[in-house]
Each structure stands twice: as C-alpha cells, then as structure tokens.
C-alpha cells in the first residue's frame, strides 16, 4: 500500500491545462498547411501530381487543398520547387461543414457550437459511442488517449459509452468498409434522437488512403449525416479535443480563426 502511495507521489500531476493555456506541440508537428499561390511557378503541377489522395488541385484561382482528404504527409511540401506549401503547427482544424475543409491559403472557418436545443441538451453532457469502420487503429488510438489523465475528457462532461442506446451520438473512424456498413447503420439507428455524428480522420471524412476502393465507402457521410469533421491522419488528440469542445461551446467561437498559431516551446 505504501508503495502505491509513493508511486502516486512520484508520478505527479499530469493533466494539461487545456483549453486554458496554449499546448506545446513538437516543432516538426504537421498541422494546418498554408499555401502561398504567389510563389507558384507558372503552370506548375508538382504538388497536385505528388498528392497521394488527390487532395490538391489547380484551377483558375490557383491551388486548392481539401483538408478532408489530406494525410498531412510531406509528399507535396517535398515536391514543391518554390516553397509555396508548408505545414504550420496549427492543430485547430475541426469544421461543421464539409466544404469548409477546402482551403485556398489556410483554414479560415472553424467549427461553431451547437445551437438552441441541441446546445442545451449536449453542452454540458455529451455521451458518444465510437464506431471503428475500417480504420487503421491510428484514429482510434488518439481518440482513446483523450480518456487518459493527460486530457481527462470526463472533466468536460464528454464520455464514451458502451451502448449506442446510452449515447447522444457517434464518433466514427475509418472509411466505412462495405463489411461495416450495416453494423454502422444499425448502431446509428440505435442512438435515440436527437443525435450527432462526428467523423474523425481522413478516412471517415473522405476515404483517406482508401479513397475509391470498391471495398469501402469514402467515409461516414456515405451512410449517415455528419455534424462535425475533424481532419488528420490521424488527427492529434488536441485536434480532436478542440473539435469536441468547439461543438459543445466550451471553446469560444472564432478562437483561432485569425490564424493565431500556438507558441512553440
């Protein structure tokens, strides 16, 4: 017993003061990409050609990046001859509308809070059922981590529950394989209305690396309506937490919209 107490003392207090203080992220962390079309050489397609998921496109208005498809890899930044693309350490990436993930320079509009009745129902207590539908266990791992003492998700009134009948919504990961389609649909139907759906990761938003595979369905929206999109491959736990807190109105609307990038320690 004494050893348990001594260990407790040695381990210390580990819960981060989020969202009160800006978190520390590694300098190499690949957050929101930033595009500078003025640097693009005429007719250059290097980034578009390098992108594994077709997240990048070039049109009359210049390059366009779909963060819903983006794997946050280095293929485009390495291919760009002019340094017109770079990753910032901006981790706040969640949006309410799918089209808000399509950016020209950087992410401008972040998720707004639920409104009216939904806000009053779920603002202080949100129970979620997680469904992994073809995910690689990357997103699942970094969702799970929110339950550790570091993030302590429970202090925000958000909790993962074992049954869809006890849930207010689903948090979906994976591209929705054909083999999970029915199970996902049944789980959704078992959640009592009104209900929310949160799509976490490139797979659940767009199919991710498995985009257009006949064995999968290009994301959660193919089966159920989605209320919150959290991009990444996988999203950092703070990206997920930030998205959840914005949805329930625990992070001030508009925070981060002006591109105030968190400090790097």
């Amino acid at each position: 017993m004494l050893k348990v107490l001594l260990a407790r003392l040695a381990q210390g207090h580990r819960t981060i003061p989020f969202p009160g203080e800006a978190p520390s992220l590694p300098d190499r962390f690949r957050g929101a990409p930033e595009l500078d079309p003025t640097k693009c050489p005429d007719g250059c397609q290097a980034c578009v050609d390098a992108c594994p998921t077709g997240a990048l496109a070039q049109d009359a208005a210049g390059p366009r990046l779909d963060l819903g498809r983006c794997l946050f890899c280095t293929d485009c930044t390495e291919a760009c001859p002019a340094g017109a693309l770079r990753h910032t350490t901006e981790y706040r990436l969640a949006v309410r509308e799918r089209e808000d993930l399509v950016i020209r320079r950087t992410l401008e509009k972040r998720a707004s809070a639920l409104e009216g009745k939904l806000r009053s129902l779920f603002g202080r207590s949100l129970k979620l059922r997680q469904v992994s539908a073809g995910g690689c266990n990357g997103c699942e791992s970094d969702v799970n981590v929110l339950n550790t003492i570091v993030f302590d998700l429970g202090r925000f009134g958000i909790q993962f529950v074992a049954s869809p009948r006890h849930a207010d919504g689903l948090l979906i990961t994976g591209p929705v394989t054909e083999n999970m389609r029915l199970a996902l649909r049944k789980t959704y139907d078992a959640v009592p209305p009104p209900k929310l759906v949160i799509a976490v990761g490139a797979c659940a938003i767009s199919g991710g690396p498995f985009l257009d595979h006949p064995e999968a369905h290009n994301g959660a929206s193919s089966v159920v309506p989605v209320d919150l999109f959290i991009p990444g491959c996988p999203p950092h736990p703070l990206t997920i937490l930030d998205g959840l807190l914005r949805l329930v109105g625990r992070i001030e609307e508009g925070a981060g919209d002006r591109g105030d990038v968190p400090a790097i320690p």
Binding site: Q11, G135, N179, L182, F210
Partner: protein, 503 residues
C-alpha cells in the same frame, strides 16, 4: 541444414531480392512435402499464399519457410492442377489460416481442411459468390446446458471491429471462435501494379499502430529490388523509430492490462506514459505514429544533436516513471493473482500454431526477428531475446516489461553513437522480374512482406503477413477453459490487430 526438403527450395536471407525465376517451381506434391518436412525440422511457415500466374487463369502457390536456427528463408512455388489441392493443415497446423485465405481469394479448395471458413469476406467477384460478413458455420457445442455468447462487431470500448463467438458452460468457455473481416479495405489488391504514390501510405496504415514496422518491411523490399544502399545513419534511426513504436505500445498494453484487472494506478500512469513515448516519436518526425519517418533509401527526418539530447532526456524520465508504475504490478498480490495462470498457452501449442512476437516468447519460444533474422542496425548490435515460460497473461506482461527496458537501452546507445553522414539515399525504382522477402520484428511480432515485380518493375503481387495473422488463433486457444469474464484481460494480453489481419 540437413534435410532434402531445403535443397528443393531456394535459400534467401532476410531483405534479399532475387530474380523471380530463381524461386523454384515444383510439382505441387513436392512443394507440399518440402513444407511439411521443413516444418518438421523446425521451420515456420512465414507466408503461404496464392497468386494469378502471368498467363492468367491458373493459381500459383508460393511458400516462404523461415528457419530460425539458421536465419535462412526458403522459398518455393507450385501450381496445383484443377480446382483443389490436398490441404497441408491436417499435418501442419500453421497452414490453417493461409489455406483458408487461398480458398477465399481464389476458390482453390484445400481438400481435407478441417476448418474451411471465410477469413475476410471480400466482395464477390469473378463469378464467385461470397457469404455476407459474419455468416459462417460457427462451431457449436450441443446440449441443454451450454450456451452461446456473441460479441461484436461493434464493441463496448474504442476498439476495432471483430466478432467473437463463445461456447460457454456457465462462466466457463469451452471454445471461442473469432470471425474477422470487418476492416477489410482491399489494401493488398490495391498494391498490385505499384509502387504508386499511395503505396507508402498504405504501408503506414496497414496497422496504424505499426506504421514504422510495416513501412520498414516495405522499404527493405523496395531497396533490395532496386539495389539501393541505405546509409548507416538511416539504419540506426530506423532502429530508434522501431523501438520507440515498441515502447509506446508495450507501455500502453501494460497499462491496459492493469485496467482490465481494476488496478487503476498503473492504468493511469501507463496511459500517460504511452503518450510520452508517442510524443518522442513525434519529436523525431512530427507524427506520434511515425508517419513520414521511414522512406525508401533511408528516413524522412534526421536527428540533430540537440534533438538527440532531448530525446534521451525524455526517455530517461519516461523509463523512470514506467518502472515505478510497472513495479506496482509485480508487487500487488491482487494483480498477480489475476495475471498468473490466466489465458495459458503451452509451448507446444505456440510452436504448433506458429505464434510470433511476445505471445510466442511468453511461452518460452526464442523467436525474435531482430535476433534470428537480423537486418539493418540489428546486424551490428545484439538485443537479447526476452522470454518467459509460463505462457499466461503474467508471462506476456513480463516479456513486454523486459523488452521495454532493453529498447530504451538500445535507443540510448544508438542515439549517442549515431554514424555520421546522410540519412537518406536516392532510392531507385524496383527492377523488373524480382522476387523478395522481408521480415521485421514489429512490436506484435514478425511482419513479413513478400513481393514480385513484373517485366516493367511493377508489383505483380504483394503479400502482407501481419503478426496478428499468426496469433489470433493463439488467443482463441488461450480462452479454452477460462472464465468468460477473463476475455478482456486475455484479449489485451495479446492485443492483436484487426486491420492488420483484415488488410
């Protein structure tokens, strides 16, 4: 090695590519005999799979035998005549899931297979119908008293989907049948015709918690096929990344085991510490899961001296706290009582099933690719194989702890003596007509990739064997005669991958 069987096969070392014609083509019965004799002499079936021959139509079977004692791989191929072949499984249990896979993918029936059921439920195609997911002839215990418990695919926690069917008598489990395939997303199919710009991303998401392991196995193959020489510094950094991956997962598993027996202190501490090891990987390459780290020709990110110093300091602190947290497990009789003699797998069963990784080592089987088939940095440094002998949850926990200590020690050594020079060489494209095999000791065990290129240097087939493929049956065996309430504990002690199995 004495044994005519090995003379009939081609010998390869880990991470070697040869002309695809060097893989001997045998009459099927000769290949069958060679495999059976090879396994009898201590070989393991690392891979056994089908592929369509270039001329189309016929299905060719390829076998990769791993001989741990020699550190040699033996390969051979054969094309069975007709729509069936005499199954190996009745004489060689290791072949059971491989033969089910062959039957499912190609409609080629292993005759005499005692347990011929679906593996992944791929979509129907080529004029063949497929059962719907989860539909199978589940084994049932008849009678008034036994009852059946069905769990999944959607589970209570934040976990991947799979279906578990228990045959119970009261609390006791007679038999557990595991039916997977819910994560099947067609990766192996999509790899054919590559490498493409998605290939490396497929590798990093075969099992997202093993991004380094699978990406490394793949890059070893591409480098062997293209004749790329990897700089020494890159080898060292790959080893560092692979051990960091092992650390994060092993520490997380020990915490989860503590949680499953209701011992919350270690569960809480290890949950946090797992993040510290993941963040160490992010310090290296920006991603907690090592995405972008392993690249053909070397690594995507170098380790500068300041970063190396930070890494070692963080690891030292993390190991200190991990030790405090894990020692609580060994010192708490209530934990030991739940770990010991729970989910026991005997050494005989482990050998018969061909288990790999910590699950095998916990049964006293000295099997570790880093030691038996060393490649890259592991050729220059010795990592002692950690084993335990009781084959139970306790042994699987203990093996993990021993490996945690050794991995930290390994990283410290590597980081402090990093070879100078570049960390990445320009990698060429795979040459035409090559065949290669690579093995990597991922944190779950042996990862095996086997690929062949066609006349234009494109993958004509690409086989991935995740360690989970070998080990899921080990979990089913561990549950025999156990209390059903111990399933979460046993499951966590194996912590297998669903997506790595389903591909």
């Amino acid at each position: 090695m004495n044994g005519a069987c090995f003379d009939r096969l081609a010998a390869l070392h880990n991470g070697q590519a040869v002309s695809r014609d060097r893989v001997p083509e045998l009459p099927f019965l000769d290949l069958r005999t060679a495999i059976l004799e090879g396994v009898e002499l201590g070989g393991r079936l690392a891979a056994f799979f089908g592929r369509k021959t270039a001329s189309g139509g016929a299905v060719e079977l390829v076998a990769v035998l791993a001989l741990d004692a020699e550190g040699q791989l033996y390969v051979g191929r054969a094309t069975p005549e007709g729509a069936s072949f005499p199954a190996l499984t009745p004489e060689c249990t290791q072949a059971h899931l491989f033969e089910r896979e062959i039957a499912e993918q190609f409609g080629l029936a292993p005759e005499g297979h005692p347990w011929l059921k679906p593996v992944r439920y791929p979509p129907a195609g080529e004029g063949r119908s497929m059962p719907s997911i989860g539909v199978a002839d589940f084994y049932r215990v008849a009678g008034e008293e036994p009852h059946e418990v069905a769990v999944g695919p959607v589970h209570a926690g934040v976990i991947e989907p799979g279906h578990f069917r228990f045959q119970c008598h009261g609390e006791n489990v007679f038999h557990l049948e595991i039916m997977l395939g819910y994560q099947h997303r067609g990766v192996e199919r999509a790899l054919v015709g590559g490498p493409t710009k998605r290939t490396l991303h497929y590798m990093e998401t075969l099992a997202g918690d093993t991004s380094i392991g699978h990406a490394l196995a793949h890059c070893m193959l591409v480098e062997a096929m293209s004749g790329t020489r990897v700089p020494a510094r890159a080898h060292a950094l790959r080893g560092v990344a692979l051990e960091l991956e092992r650390l994060a997962n092993h520490v997380g598993d020990l915490g989860a085991l503590a949680a499953d027996v209701g011992f919350l202190p270690t569960a809480a501490y290890c949950g946090r510490l797992r993040g510290d090891y993941l963040n160490a990987t992010a310090l290296l390459c920006g991603s907690r899961f090592g995405r972008g780290m392993v690249r053909p020709g070397g690594v995507g990110f170098d380790l500068d001296p300041a970063r190396a110093e930070t890494l070692v300091a963080r690891l030292d602190a993390a190991l200190r706290d991990t030790r405090t947290a894990v020692e609580l497990l060994w010192n708490s009789p209530s934990v030991q009582a739940r770990f010991e003699e729970t989910g026991t797998v005997s050494r005989e069963v482990a050998l018969e099933l061909g288990l790999v990784g910590p699950a095998a080592r916990a049964c006293g089987v000295e099997r570790d690719v880093r030691q038996t088939f060393p490649s890259g940095i592991y050729q220059f440094t010795q990592l002692p194989v950690a084993t335990a002998d009781s084959g139970d949850v306790f042994a699987r926990a203990q093996v993990r702890w021993l490996e945690i200590e050794r991995s930290v020690e390994f990283i410290r050594e590597q980081v402090q003596a990093l070879p100078a020079g570049a960390c990445r060489a320009q990698a060429g494209a795979p040459a035409a007509g090559r065949f290669g095999v690579s093995l990597v000791e991922g944190w779950r065990g042996e990862i095996c990739h086997v690929a062949t290129t066609d006349a234009s240097g494109r993958f004509s087939d690409y086989k991935v064997v995740d360690p989970s493929f070998h080990n899921w049956t080990g979990l089913a065996m561990a549950l025999r005669g156990q209390q059903i309430s111990d399933f979460p504990l046993c499951n966590k002690s194996f912590n297998l991958s669903y997506c790595g199995h389903d591909l």
